[in-house]
Each structure stands twice: as C-alpha cells, then as structure tokens.
C-alpha cells in the first residue's frame, strides 16, 4: 500500500521513462540516475565515450520538464563571463549605464557539455552556482532561480587539451554517471530509428513536470521515512572510504553521506515505496562514490578502478 502522492510520482516517472524511450534507446540506469539527481536537486556528471547519447538524454529530459534549459559547450577559450554573464554598456534615457546581461547559467537546467574542455577558471565559475545556487559578478550576487541543476558531460578519452575537474568541483556533483555502450539489440534499434525515420522531426514530447510538481517531488523525497539502520549503513560505507588506506588514498566527504541517503530515498520513491531499503543505498553507492575517492597506487597496480574498490567496500 502506498500513498497517492507516491503512486502519482511513480506514474510520472514511468511516463517520463517511456517518453525518453521514444528518443533514447536503452540507457535506463542513466535516465533513472539523472531523474534522481533532479529529485534531489543535485548536479550530475555524465561520463562516457562520444556518441552514447549523453547530450541527447539530458536535452530530451529537459523537454519533458517545463523548465528553462540552457546549454554551454565547454571549450578551452570559454570565459567565466560566458557562463555567468557580464555587464554591458547600455544606452538609456538618462545616459549610458552598465546593465547586467545574465549568462546561460541563469536557467533551471544547465547542460555543460564537455565540461573538462573548459579551463579551470571557467569550471570554477560554476562552483558557486552549483553549491550556493547564486552567481557573483563584480560586486553583485545574483540568486539563481530554483530548481537549479547542472548536468555536465565529459569524455574519458581524448585527454589532450582537457582540464580534469578539481576535487572540490567534482565533489559538488552528486552523481558521476557512467554511460556504457548499448547492447547489440539496442544498437540495432538505434540504427533502425535513426536511419529509417526522419531524424529532425522526432517524436513530439509533452512537458509533464512543471516547476511546482518538481518542488513537491523534491519535498516528497525528503519526507520518505528512513530507518536508523539504513542511515548508519550509508555513513559506514562512506566512512570506510576514509579508512581503507590499503586501496583508497583519499576518501569521500560527509557530503557523500548526505547525498547517499537522499539518493536512496529518491530511489525508493521511484520504486513506489514509502520506506528505504539497504538495496537502495547499495544501488546508489557507485555513482555517488566513484568520483569522490582517489584510489592509491597499490590499487591501480592491481588494475582496480573506482567501481572495483567500491564493490570491495560493499562486501
């Protein structure tokens, strides 16, 4: 038995998933994790090889939400003012005066494509926006409209001419979502869809989630009851990353614990449950911890990656 609100939320997500499915083939986990990031009003970093529909997934999702969407393409010559906005000289009746011209960051959903191609200076311009939900230009601080989330993408290959995200910034992303190659059958579907039908027309998508609905859902996530044991389990997992020095050089911060519990709650909501289970935490632990831990030389020497180490922690 579930409350009406939970049932409605579940129905809405089922609808979103099916609508995205009209455009994006497969990538169910990626879609689910992006929705969870939206429900927890957090930022997500999508990492995957080129051509895996990262940008398409985010842009399709934004179309299903009645929110202001903007896209920034990360390039080495992208300046912070290109992101945050700048003062421009404007002619008025009283004469010339500087007027603030908001940048693309002033939106509800910001897609920062290939974030690691932007310079650290530009990347750090995003920091304040991502954490404080505000932008400071000159002496003025501008509040960003809520809900606000940054969905960034990055490419794990072609490292030349890229600037890896600083730890402080990657910690501000709740998830690092890994997009993988589609299965054989999915790829056949993709080929069929994009070679036999008119790509430009595409299916018509109706925006379903309005701003108010998203706020309510975000509140609902926070209200999901959770047992003390689950909270302890989540914190224990994060704490382990700081204690297992034989594999991990630097562990995750308490921000990871907060994110883990919140994400587990959202996962339960998507599943139509009004309580959280250990499984919710276990499912969310990979995207939440993989960019927050730095594995040591010994682990690297044994060909372990972050996911292997997290799997080891879960045992």
């Amino acid at each position: 038995m579930t409350t009406d609100s939970i049932q409605k939320a579940k129905d809405a997500f089922d609808y979103i998933t099916s609508e995205i499915g009209k455009v994006v083939v497969g990538q169910q986990q990626v879609i689910k994790q992006i929705i969870i990031a939206i429900l927890t009003e957090s930022n997500a970093l999508l990492e995957g090889y080129p051509g895996l529909a990262k940008t398409l997934t985010v842009s399709t999702l934004s179309k299903l939400m009645d929110l202001k969407f903007s896209r920034i393409q990360g390039t080495p010559d992208l300046m912070p003012s290109d992101v945050t906005g700048t003062y421009v000289l404007e002619e008025t009746k009283s004469g010339r005066e500087f007027k603030f011209q908001p940048g693309p960051i002033f939106a509800n959903v910001v897609l920062m494509d290939e974030i690691n191609r932007a310079t650290p200076k530009t990347q750090s311009a995003l920091l304040e926006a991502m954490q404080e939900r505000q932008v400071t230009v000159g002496n003025h601080t501008y509040k960003l409209e809520r809900p606000f989330f940054v969905l960034a993408t990055q490419n794990p290959i072609e490292q030349e001419g890229t600037y890896p995200l600083p730890e402080a910034q990657s910690d501000r992303f709740l998830f690092k979502i890994k997009t993988d190659y589609p299965s054989f059958n999915d790829e056949v579907d993709i080929v069929t869809r994009y070679t036999e039908f008119d790509e430009k027309g595409g299916p018509e998508l109706k925006p379903l989630l309005k701003k108010d609905t998203i706020f309510k859902l975000q509140q609902l996530v926070r209200q999901i009851p959770i047992a003390q044991d689950i909270k302890r389990y989540a914190v224990e997992l994060v704490k382990k990353t700081r204690e297992r020095k034989e594999l991990i050089e630097y562990g995750a911060s308490p921000r990871a614990s907060i994110g883990l519990v919140l994400a587990a709650k959202a996962h339960a909501l998507l599943d139509g449950r009004n309580y959280v289970t250990k499984n919710d935490v276990r499912e969310m632990v990979y995207p939440i911890l993989r960019h927050r831990i730095i594995i040591n030389f010994e682990a690297e020497r044994n060909n372990f990656n972050e996911d292997d180490v997290i799997g080891y922690l879960l045992k």
């Binding site: 038995m1 609902l220 009851p225």
Partner: protein, 263 residues
Amino acid sequence: MEILKQALKQVKQILFFVSFFTSLINSLIVFLLFALLFFFFHVAWIYALIPFFVFLGHTTLRSMRRIGYYDVEKKIPDLEWRLRTSADNADRKDELAMDLHHDVLQRLHQVSAARIMNKKQTISKIATILGLCFLLVFFSLNSVHFDDFIPAIQQGMSPITGFFVKESNLTDVSFFGDEDGANIYTEEDQINYGNKEEVVELNQMLGLVDINKYNRDGEGKTFKDTAIGSGNREALGSENSKEKIGDEDKQIVNNYFRSINQP
C-alpha cells in the same frame, strides 16, 4: 501515533518472551548436563542450579541486548525494512509516515511467538532435554555412579606406572615378533631374542620374576652358535651349568630357557 507505539511494545514483548524462552531451554540443557555429572560423582543435584542460573542470566542478558525488529523482519518478509522504519519514525505524523504506520499495523497481526521462534532448533533442543531426562532417570534407577567404573578402570591400569596398558602385552612372549614386518631391522630370530629379553625385563619390573637370581645362577651359559645372523640360536645354560641349583629353581630356569628358545 499511540496505536503503533502500543503495537510495537507488544512486538517487543513477544521478542523478549521468545528470547527468554530460548535462553531457558538452553539453560535447562546445561542444568541437566550438570545434574547428570553431579549424580555420577555423588554431588547433590541442587548444585546444578548454580550453572543453570549463571547460564540463564548470562544468555538472557546477552540476547536481550541483541533484541531488535530485525528478528521479526527475518521471519515475516512482508515487514522487511518497513517495521524498523516505522518504529524509528513512530513520532512522525506526516502523510508518508502515517501511511507507513498504517501499513505496518495491518501486517503486524502476523507477528506471533510461534512464527518468530526457530521451530526446528526448539524441537531438537526439547528432544535433547527429554534424552537427558531419560538418562538421568535411567542412571538413578540403576544407581549408576562413577565408582562403579573404578574397578574396571583399575583392571586395565598398570599397578606400577598407572597407565592403561593391555595385560596380554606384559606376558605375551612374542608381542613384537608376531607383527608383520618386524624383521625389517635384522633377522627375525634376533628380534625374537630381543623381544623375549624385553618381556623378561618387564616381568622383572612388575615383580613377577626376580631375574637377578637367575642371572647369577645362569653364569657360564654358552650358546651353540654365537655368530651374529647365522642359524637358530639355542641357550644351553641348563645343560652346561656347573652351578648347584635347587630343584625348584632349576625348574624355573628350565622353563625360562625353554620359553626363550621357542621360535
């Protein structure tokens, strides 16, 4: 939510009962084991109550500390995570929490001591208790005590060393020679000689034979063949001895040499 709190209290009471019952059964087994042991050694059975109460107190305290809703959830999967979550959020009155509380309340009727208890384990423990009771009654009716086993134990014990040894080993003349492969070290008859000498020595140790007497009397004995490892050896002491030996002693010496000449 008062109803939920009361229901959770009842669940706790059931858990306490189950935990105490399990401890009691375990303690009863301990009691019967000690009672049986004490009965064997003529100690009053009432002293078995000491380990019983110590064990009962210890296990009850330990299990009470470990008690949790997890035990209920393990037996009733419908309540898995729900019960714990509801109990931890019993004071919350928002829509989601209330819904969870109602859900849990509906499922709580499934909770009973019989469902939580580990039936297989309990049955096997009760069977153990019955078995121990039977043994206790049987031994008390037949007055079986540890003392009854003392003569039997002593019989198998060497009076000198106190070790349990086979009686036949002490008197059996060929206790080494008969074994397969005993001649891997040297020739078989040499081993036999050695064995026989050893038996004589053992008999002397046990006070069965005073060999010193016969060593003196047997001086000057010669053997037909002294070459090591060639032919059978035969002691001729009884024939060649020039000593004067009494008839009775002579008979013993003859018997001794006859026995050591046996193949």
